[in-house]
Symmetry: D3
Subunit: 315 residues, 6 copies
């Protein structure tokens, strides 16, 4: 997607220019993993024009392999962002109907090649929310991954503006059947699945046969200050991450950084407490970086996860 | 429409920000007329969000009355502009399908109020090209104007990417039946109506019972240097404007400035030669101003039309 | 007035460019009311050149009617703003002597037309402070409003750099004789009128036969953090607004937003507590927006006034 | 003076920021001479605030000695510049009435110290045009220089917006009585002194007992393309400089660079042809540099004056 | 290399910021080829810090494979660029001594892997000029390519500031022994090899057993206007390209675009005339794009090479 | 040195431009003193090109005398700065090896002229750390100052990336033998000299025969919030400054502002408590100003030192 952001803390109607970022939930996860040295691939479809090419260039610059990005369709999904400040909320206006990706069909993708050699597949709940085709596509992709024994992670990322809770629940439950790792924030866990609190995690994991369940928490003090933490469940055990009170530079992509961190941590066999700390540190660091992507090195994330970093000058 | 332009002479893929302009063919005409002191109204539909509001604010800042701009629909038509330089052409990427305006229907507009007290109606050929609804809307608007005896001007503005020549010809001929003043560039006159050259102007005027016909001409030397001129026919007489060789700052809106100039000139009863000179001067001046709108005062246009201005410092 | 601001937190001597804003105390009030959907008019005088025109365009963009803005005189009042940070104070340098407005005389304005259909008149104490002509002008305007039964609000806005306390008190007392609603901050209430604290409000209201008296309070923690609240008295009752601790983006115009909020609230018949909350919420929100004007929608102000907003992302 | 310029080729009403430059006719001459390694002093008065300080800092950065810049008064003269393009003229709006300098009086300056060790004094016709005080000041300064045997150069720089031709002629003739070197453009020579063409130079020089007379010529092709040349008379001989056709980046200060070049050339005893070539080269180069000052090294000016430079990359 | 450019046409001493580009002669060739769809690799060494990483990211964004970019050493070569205008020349200040690449040794590179599957090797004369290590490295690379039968192209790119003509000639002749395609501009052909004019091309080709020889020509009108053309010799035949008179946006990288074009054309078996036209079109187009790289699509280059493009708006 | 800073809170790899500042530890001290009205000289060496000239211009603009800045050598020391935010640390990458200054030798400087009329000499521990020549130079300068009875202040400023603790200790002890005033932060006092805490100050002063010893303290809350304070010892007495909790705009130069403040305070005979308060206030204020230099007036520093300023708007 193309993200167009008002400069500084200006309102939409005051903007004489928009800052340009290319990203999206899954793209941000792929990018963070690439920045940390993982070989990551982004699978999507963008229009065969220069704005579409800009998406590809942006991902490539971060080291993401874009060989499986199809070209075609008419438009790139777009959204407008206005930064809030103090008591004034940030605003997001979406304009992503009829995007090339949302209209792409499962048959256009060569799953054989895409999953050859893959050892992880990550998906967010935004994809199936984009429309009928996308819902099929998401289901097909999970199924294809599952049947090859590739672990699947799903970040629920429920957006009520895109679909209703009922349709969402139905579609997501189908995906959960093929999922190994599920991330969901506390409100959505409650709204969609009727579960809340640490105790419910085990129940939720068992109901959907999940190996890992992460619940994420966010408390808003004002537009620029949030507190975040998370809990991670696996195999009968639940751990809680560090809690961070953040002065945020850019909130977009904070959840994707968590997802990327969790995929990295599980993929590298981190033990449970270290895994959740790593994911939360990645999320926290992302909030300090402009743009959608957690442009922080592995060393930086590990240092924060280990509690060693407090914002000193490094020279 | 929202126009997003790459900064300077950078290419789309190099842009980290886009310059923001709100405009569109008819809006640019209304704006120029307001800048010249006319009371002008813009009739359209924009989404009921802040990006839609920005269109309204922009038009109001120039003095255009926006009381007849409807609010609703889902998105604002968008296009991307990359400035060319030297032998490298400028590029435009359109993303305007399903815009609030293109899906608006004739019935949504209160023609009685809109045309109460109006003494001119201007339309471009882009509107009917946007889709079935817009074609109906354009026809309805012309008919409503006509039946109230309000003069109608039509800038053909044929865009082959939007519709084919056959469909365009059919739709435009219907509009021409209600039109008094028609503006068309030489290539489109040839392609759509099979006429070319000064002699054909009378024939064209008679065929469609037009009071005024303007043919516009443009020769491209390179991306930043064009030559332009025009001819104007009325009542058996044809005149040719001055010819300008321009070093262009911003080409978008050059044709709209011509249309605004012609509407102004005819509306104020300028004699034929002065009318075409005024319109061409407005067009030439527009090319020297960034953005879509001919932000030049009446005095400036008159001074250029009279051949008195050569780019001296005014202090 | 033209406001020229150093970029970011740079000092005046570091600036290679200035940000441009057009505003002023009364203009900011008119603008906020227009943003909230009120029909508002700005009455003033600006030079008949493009910098003067820019004032008009800016106000029109926000929906303010500028039909009563006279053109003429030599210059636009100007001021320079440098944002402070932490312990370093913000700085303002004024250069507004001999502005077109400050030299305009009461006779230049067509009070009959201006007040035809008007249902409110707002004035600040800056206007009479600008000089002899302005003092007459302010008095004349209040008198003309009063004699037509139009409610008058006066924001005291005492600036010691412009006039002494004695001259100010004399002039303001004359205005208060025609005033219905008076806004004054605690320090100026003390310095000019010798009143302080909630109890003095009734006394103050009675002395000058005011329907409403608002006292505003501000505590400075550092250049970017202030606490604000206010009290409102009417008809024997005094209420206190919410108190906000703010991280400020732009402090200029915070008081004008309060005034606009109060005018709106009283004009719409809000009960006392809701009125002061609405005004304070408008003021608080203004501090989060760059520029002079409270570019926040009615919904946003109401949401903050109702305590429902805490700076969440709205998407 | 403070110069506020609209960004790029945008019009005043489009500007959301202004570029900031500090300069002025005499300041630009002092700055160019300092850049070329001369010890130069600027004598003026600026307000005792940060905007005044910025003038001092700017001059110091270029190596101009500011020890004789007085502090006081209320405001700095200001002007607004809008760059033209193609057939659209550049625009300048002045706001310099009541500047600290224009109200400063001859008695405030310590001529003894100022002229101790000085070997040149340069003045432009703008100074006496600023008002009664400035006219006295200019005359006093010339007289003080003259009586110490210090050569005086006067750049006529007649601005009809500031004073009428009659008053100007009277005042300038008084200054010419103390002047050794006079620079005047062809139009002003005609309008003020009724002389034109090369032949009149000798007559003009003899009438006012001038050692050197320079006539400058400018032909405008469009807002960005001018041709310039000059003639220089001394001691019975007249020479013509090279003629340059320029694509201009910034026209302001082009005449001041010529004056600086002439002062440098005469001061260093260049023979007549070399002197006028050097001055014209400096002027031409200035037009290629943004801002008011000829930020070009001695080597660059000499290289252009010698016809050795054609805009190659120097690497 | 890191290129730091003064904004607009400002001089170095006026810059408060520098534009950032990462490029270099060979990198620019690799990038252009990648933009045209070729698989291209960049072989170099950059410091193991974020500025080094930025080089990698920039190349990746354009599609260049950076697997053979070594990490280490202390610094990245840097240069400063100031754009000229009109008669004022552009300026380049180099600061590239002791760069990581210039101190890297042939043994650090894994030639086996680098050349596995390669079908072309391109080198410029800047590399051996950087110092003793680089001279060895260049020779080693050419030898390794040659012994695997991989065609080698050498762009002479002689920089007299880096080494003397004698040392350059000696080193380059060694490289020419392994070279198939040599590009040299007319002046350097004369200065280093004593050849000039079309007739000498065959002689030059035979002397060094070259399959292709290209001579490039540039005539400077002023800092922003150049004329360029080239001649290409192969197998007894010499052809001349189109000649372009350009208004340049950015001159850096114009020669590299020519080299890339020639490599592409020869690699794709273009016949001689088409080959030189393609290379010259690429070079011409590069001059219209900001930055070092020919960010123009294959279609655009072909269209210009075929004489079909004249800078029209493409919409 | 040239400082290149990523815009806003962007990371190095995201920067398309760098902000430009010229400064350095000793330069910042000289600049602050000049801003406060002292006559200050900067002694150094910069390359004889425009980037070197920009250093001179920058210092001159602030009023620093640059007559003793030598021209020559090859490069200017450079460093890259990335602002941290929240838990993400700021980053500095140095590239200053082989700078003109670091290779300059004591014999190049004319100590007789440099110290004629001087009444203070300030040096930081960065200078001797730059290499063998710089170590000699630092020692020579201190010796030359000492033998003329000029007070010497040394800011230890130990940078472990430049030299080891052992070499540093040896070199610094030699300098301390000629030093009157020593500033060192608590960690370096411990690491290099094995002293810590207030009590050790007297011991340290006596060991090296220092008239004044200042220990500085900094606690990091996060990248933008620090607490700072200091202690000052002289003649048997130790005082502690105010403690400031800061929201920082730019941390670079905070220590230099302390040093400048201490030099000013001691030079003007402030009593001990006032001296340390003044120095700490200068340091605190510097953190609120972008760039390296404490661009705050004497009045501002005094006002903060006296506890009178809390970031109010001054208008």
């Amino acid at each position: 997607m193309l993200r167009l952001t008002s400069p500084g803390y200006g309102r939409f109607v005051q903007a004489q220019s928009f800052e340009v970022n290319y990203g999206g939930a899954e793209a941000n996860v792929a990018a963070a993993l690439a920045v940390w040295g993982e070989e990551s691939f982004f699978v999507s479809k963008v229009p065969a024009h220069e704005i579409g090419q800009a998406v590809v260039n942006t991902l490539r610059s971060m080291g993401v392999n874009t060989n499986f990005v199809l070209r075609g369709g008419e438009r790139l999904g777009t959204y407008y962002v206005e930064r809030g400040a103090d008591i004034r909320s940030s605003k997001v206006i979406y304009d992503r109907k009829n995007s090339a990706f949302s209209l792409s069909e499962a048959e256009e993708y060569d799953w054989e090649k895409i999953f050859a050699g893959a050892d992880w597949f990550h998906l967010t709940g935004i994809t199936p929310a984009l429309g009928q085709e996308s819902e099929h596509l998401a289901a097909a992709a999970c199924r294809e991954a599952k049947k090859r024994g590739i672990p699947v992670s799903l970040d629920v990322n429920y957006r009520s503006k895109l679909w209703g809770a009922d349709r969402a629940k139905g579609a997501l439950e189908k995906l959960l059947a093929d999922t190994d790792v599920c991330i969901v924030n506390e409100n959505q866990a409650q709204e969609l699945f009727g579960v809340s609190g640490e105790r419910a995690m085990q129940e939720f994991a068992e109901k959907y046969s999940l190996r890992y369940v992460a619940f994420t928490y966010r408390r808003t003090e004002d537009a620029l200050h949030n507190r975040i933490w998370s809990t991670l469940y696996s195999d009968g055990k639940t751990v809680k991450s560090c809690e961070y009170r953040m002065e945020m530079i850019d909130r977009i992509g904070g959840g994707d950084a968590f997802a990327a961190g969790l995929v990295y941590a599980i993929g590298h066999g981190f033990e449970l407490q270290k895994a959740v700390n790593f994911a939360e540190a990645a999320s926290c660091l992302k909030h300090s970086v402009p743009g959608d992507v957690c442009f922080c090195s592995l060393e930086e994330v590990l240092s924060v996860a280990d509690g060693k970093t407090l914002g000193r000058v490094s020279r």
